[in-house]
Amino acid sequence: MATLWVILIYLAALLAFAMGSKRLFRGTSSDYFVASRSIGPFMLLMSVFGTTMTAFALVGSTGETFETGIGTYGLMASSSGLIHAACFFVIGIRLWAIGKRHGYVTQIQFFRERFKSDGLGYLLFPILVMLVVPYLLIGVIGGAKTILGVTSAAGPKPGMFPEAFAATNGGIPPWISGAVICLVVLCYIFAGGSRATAWANTFQTIVFMAMGVLAIVLISNKLGGFGAAIEAAKASHLVRTPTAEAGIKPLTFLTYMFIPLSVGMFPHLFQHWLTARSARAFKLTVIAHPLCIMIVWVPCVLIGAWATGIPALEGTPPGAVLGKMLGILVKDPIVVGLVTAGVLAAIMSSLDSQFLCLGTMFTNDVVLHKAKRTYTDRNILLMARGFVVFIVVLTYVLSLVLFKKNIFDLAVWSFSGFAALTPLVLAALYWKRANKAGAYLSVIGATVTWFVFFAMSGFGHEITVLNGVMPVAICWVVGAVGMVVGSLVSTAPDEETVAKFFPRL
């Protein structure tokens, strides 16, 4: 029970923290959406990193290493160190400049203006929502799986509630933990919007990074130290050679490089770029982001590799590996509670920004865009919150239906969709000839291709084509070709648009 109390105290502390930031909330819709452009470099780093690293990073990377081996770090973490920072520098800083000069807030607003097309906004909105939902799902599913892992029976350890929840071996069932996670995030978003979210993200990112380090130290101690732990791991998981047990094909490893491009189109990051106080706030993010990724991913990958040497974990679903490792090895209930709180911190710090961003886009880009009547600030806030509640309920219900899905695979599908849309933003920022027809062809081509592969995968399983090529590579090429062909066969943008978006430097 002590584990549960620690988790509950953490959640209460988080709410108190968010309520504290409410004092700074000015009560206006613009403050709710963009925190009055008041986020400095450190909070921007914590916010960007906290939002990017979700259950996928902690629970997913441990589980994926347990399945395929240490190549998991190269697949996502080290490539992200190079490519995420490149996106922040090449896309983010230019977007910031355009957002500041012309006062844009949301991704759709920017694309509508750049390509002079209202319809592009209406096309993009449902696509972005469709891609964000799996991202949200991995958070709720990952959190629920971790709580189930630490509270259910494992080996000699009894479940926490053997009588109340016999069906889940005494563990807290996903319908309860998922609901609690969603409610806590909703509460602090409602408390103070983007300002509360930024503060909560900073707090939670520090917590999950610290708890990640604590977890690896405690688990390695129980396994006899780092050296003994890795010696016991399966040899197949210490290399990348593809075998029946583990490994990664070279073509898969190569084409995974497309996936980190997704940060170039995440709606919540786009909004950060458009609304950051100063471009210099990005410097810390560009430099420190790869380091932060390393601090979180190396322990998780090592824990995943060590888990392959523990007979009691044989056959464990990948998403439950981290929770089971904690439950079996770190018996101190308070420490287990602390580390679990760290996992929840990582998850919730991703959910909040995305929920909030979807509410902002719905209000600004769908309801208020070309609205014939005038809405009060109060009405605008109500609409944004109403849409957020709708998305939260949808995510919660889907998380129960899709609970058994592999969260690493689900995340890769979400990221693949966003990555496939990056030709749109790159062309919008760097190719003067890019126009509306190219934008439509790029978005439709990339999305249809993505959906075909997604359906071929059985809606969320891992697939590769052509002997190891990740579908994202093909979707990206289709999006890029669509942009080039569509733009070249139709009229070039007018001079006014070019002058507005392409400064003569």
Binding site: Y73, L82, V239, K283, V286, P503
Partner: protein
């Protein structure tokens, strides 16, 4: 493109190639007795990426773009 920027673009693509470390594919030896070489290489790679981006920030920061955003002339 200015000269330092051109060099950074070349280094960026070089780093992308070095990410493929095919020579470590089957190597199961351990670095410092606890880290598989395939993982240790990519940890080192991350540190190199940090150094690379630090240099980019220092030498290729888009000052003129910043001035334009703040309301300067085109």
């Amino acid at each position: 493109m200015k000269s330092p920027n051109r060099i950074f673009v070349i280094v960026f693509f070089l780093l992308a190639i070095l990410h493929q470390d095919f020579w470590n594919w089957d190597n199961a030896s351990l670095v410092f007795g606890f880290m598989p070489v395939g993982l240790a290489y990519h940890v080192g790679y991350t540190l190199v990426a940090v150094a690379f981006w630090s240099l980019v920030m220092k030498l290729a920061w888009p000052n003129k773009l910043e001035e334009w955003a703040d309301g300067g002339d085109d």
